[in-house]
Symmetry: C2
Subunit: 347 residues, 2 copies
C-alpha cells in the first residue's frame, strides 16, 4: 500500500510499504477515506535529522473499518470511524478521568510514537480499536467529513485549550496563532460563550476565517507592540485567558504579556522549548496559571460531534487545500510556506 | 523608635529610626504587639548585596491602632488588628476578585516594597488602613495571638497553595517543604478534606508537627529517591496535587516528579529561579498545570479566623521561638541555621 514517510527536514515521500494487517486481537484495520497534514507535522519537517528517519506520518484520519480482531466489539466491518491522534483503551483510570492521552495501557501511544503506522496512507492498523475509534453516523462521501475530521485533532485541541483555560460565559480571551488550532480555539471559545476574543495572527485569509469563527478583534502586531495592543483593548490589564496555539517561546512570552493578573495561559501548541520564564516576575507575582497540554481528543469527540452534525458549527473550514496521497509532499511545503492553512488528503 | 534593618546578606540590625507617623488621610498608625520573621526574609538574608541596603524588614504583624487619618472608617484607636503582608484597598476589581496582591491602587504594595516601613519594629504606618487591616476580637495578650499572627502570611500562604491546587475532599496531596508555609499547607489540605497528605521534609521536629497538622506520610528522601518514594505511596503515578513551599529549583523539579498526569503543581515558595522546565517532557505531555503565586492573604483572613477563634486549629504552633526586638538578628541566624522554625517577636 502507499504511505507517507518523512526522511528528514524538508524530505517527505509517498512510497510503497507493506500492507497494514491485524496483529493483535484488539486491532482494527481501517481503509482511510480522509486524512490530513497537521501543523505539528511542520515541526519535524523543519528540523528532523535524517538519522531519525524515515518515519511514518499522519495522526488524523477518517476511514472505513475493513477488518477487526476477535476482541473488538464497538466497531465492525463497514463502519465509518474517526480516530483521535492518540491510541487509548478508554477504560483505565486516566481515560475515565478524561485524560486519554495519559492512558496507561501498554499499547496506548500517540500515533506519532506508533512505529510502522500512520494516517497519511491508504490504510492503517488501529490498536485498541474499541477504545480509540468512534463511529460516525454519516457516509464517507458526506459533506460533513472535513468538519468531522477535525475531531481527530485540531478542533479537539482548540476546545481543550479553551476548557483548560476555563473559558466560560463572558470570558475575555486572547488567542495566539492563526493556524488551524488557533482558529478552532477561537471557535471553541465562542462556542463556550466568551464575550471578547482577540485573535493575534498575521495572515489575513486566516484571521478573516477567525472573525467568521467568532473573533471580536484581530491583531497583526506581535511582541511588545502586540502586547500593548491587547492591553489597549482590555482596559490595560490583558485578558483572563490566553490560548497559546503556536508552541514557540516567542508565543509564550507574548502570552505572558497578554494575560491579566490571576489569569491563565492555556497552551496547546507543542512547545518547541523546554525552559521558559515561570519565576517571580513572569507567573508568580500575579498568580498567573499555566495550563493545557496534549489534548485528550478522545474525551471530546462525542461532546463536539452533535454541533457538527446539526450544522451549528463548521470547523472543517480550516481545510483550504485538498489533494491525493501523491500531493502530500507538496502539501507539507505549502503549509510550511503558509500558502496552505491545512491540507485535506483523499487517498 | 526601634526597627529592624537589613544591611546585606547576614547583616540584620535593630536600630533607632524616625517614629512612624500618619502621612496620608487613609493611613493608620499601629503600635506593634506581635510580629515575626518570615522564611522569605531568609532569601535576602542569604544573598542581599550591601549596595541594596539598608532596608526595613517585616511584613507580618498584629498591633493596636494608635492613630488614624481622617478617611479611615473601619478601624479606630485602641482596636487590635492584623495586617496581611500586602497593602490593598479592598475595593478595586482585583480585590473584589479576591486577588488583593494585585490591587491596582497606587499605594498598594507588598510590605517588602514599602520603603521606610516594616513590621519588625515598635510601630508602623499602615497605608490604605481600611482595605488592609482586619480587626481582631481578642486582646493583645490573648493566647490566640500566635495563631492569629499566622493570618498575616504563612497560614494564608499555605491555604492559598491548597486552594490554588484545587485541594478538596478526598484529594491526594504532596507537600514539599517543612518550613512554616509547608506545614501550614499540610494543615490547610487537611482542613479542606484531603485524604492523603505526603509531607516531604528532613527536619524531624518539623515533620512531627506536620503529622500533628494532618500529614499521613512523611518522606525525608528528596531528589530521585524522594520522587520514587512518592510514587511507591501512590500506586506509581504521584499525587494529583503538589504544594511547593520552598522556592528553589530543586523543589520545583521534585514537584514535577511527584505530580500525577493531569495534576497541578501549586507554588507558594517564592521562586529563586526565573526559567524552569515547562516543555513537552515536563508539563505539556501529561497536562500538568502550574498554579499558585503570591498569596492574597487579605482575601482569606475572615474565612480562616473562625477556626482559630474556636480552637479547631492552632496554626500558631509553627512558632517555636520567641524573642524581643533586640533578639531579631539572632532570630534570623537561628532560622537560617534551621535551629528555629519561626521566630515570634514581642516588641
Amino acid at each position: 500500500m502507499r504511505a507517507t514517510l518523512m526522511y528528514g527536514a524538508g524530505d517527505v515521500r509517498v512510497e510503497n510499504v507493506p500492507d497494514s494487517v491485524i496483529e493483535h486481537p484488539s486491532d482494527a484495520l481501517v481503509r482511510i477515506t480522509a486524512s490530513c497534514i497537521c501543523g505539528s507535522d511542520l515541526h519535524p519537517y523543519a528540523s528532523m535529522k535524517s538519522a531519525d528517519g524515515p518515519v511514518r506520518m499522519g495522526h488524523e484520519f477518517i476511514g472505513t473499518v475493513e477488518d477487526t480482531g476477535p476482541e473488538v466489539t464497538t466497531v465492525k466491518r463497514g463502519d465509518l470511524v474517526v480516530a483521535p491522534f492518540a491510541i487509548s483503551d478508554n477504560t483505565c483510570a486516566f481515560c475515565r478521568a478524561r485524560l486519554h492521552t495519559s492512558c496507561v495501557h501498554p499499547q496506548a501511544h500517540l500515533w506519532d510514537d506508533e512505529a510502522g503506522e500512520g494516517g497519511q496512507a491508504e490504510a492503517v492498523r488501529v490498536p485498541l480499536a474499541d477504545g480509540t475509534l468512534v463511529k460516525l453516523p454519516v457516509t464517507a462521501d458526506s459533506a460533513l467529513v472535513p468538519s468531522l475530521l477535525t475531531l481527530s485533532d485540531v478542533f479537539c485541541a482548540g476546545h481543550h485549550a479553551a476548557v483548560a483555560g476555563g473559558v466560560d460565559e463572558g470570558a475575555r480571551v486572547t488567542v495566539i496563532g492563526d493556524g488551524a488550532v488557533g482558529l478552532l480555539a477561537v471557535l471553541s471559545a465562542e462556542r463556550l460563550g466568551a464575550e471578547q476574543i482577540i485573535l493575534m495572527g498575521r495572515h489575513r485569509a486566516r484571521t478573516d476565517l477567525g472573525r467568521d469563527f467568532g473573533a471580536t478583534d484581530v491583531l497583526a502586531a506581535r511582541g511588545a507592540e502586540g502586547i500593548e495592543a491587547v492591553r489597549e483593548l482590555t482596559g490595560g490589564h490583558g485578558t483572563h485567558v490566553v490560548l497559546e496555539a503556536v508552541g514557540h517561546l516567542a508565543a509564550y512570552e507574548q502570552a505572558l504579556g497578554a494575560v491579566r493578573p490571576g489569569g491563565v495561559i492555556s497552551r496547546v501548541g507543542v512547545p518547541q522549548y523546554e525552559d521558559a520564564p515561570v519565576g517571580f516576575g513572569s507567573l508568580f507575582r500575579h498568580n498567573i496559571r499555566l495550563a493545557g497540554g496534549v489534548a485528550p481528543a478522545r474525551a471530546y469527540i462525542e461532546e463536539l460531534m452533535p454541533d457538527i452534525l446539526s450544522g451549528t458549527i463548521e470547523p472543517g473550514k480550516v481545510f483550504d487545500t485538498r489533494t491525493g496521497l501523491d500531493g502530500i509532499p507538496a502539501g507539507y511545503q505549502d503549509m510550511a510556506d503558509r500558502t496552505a492553512l491545512k491540507v485535506l488528503v483523499k487517498p
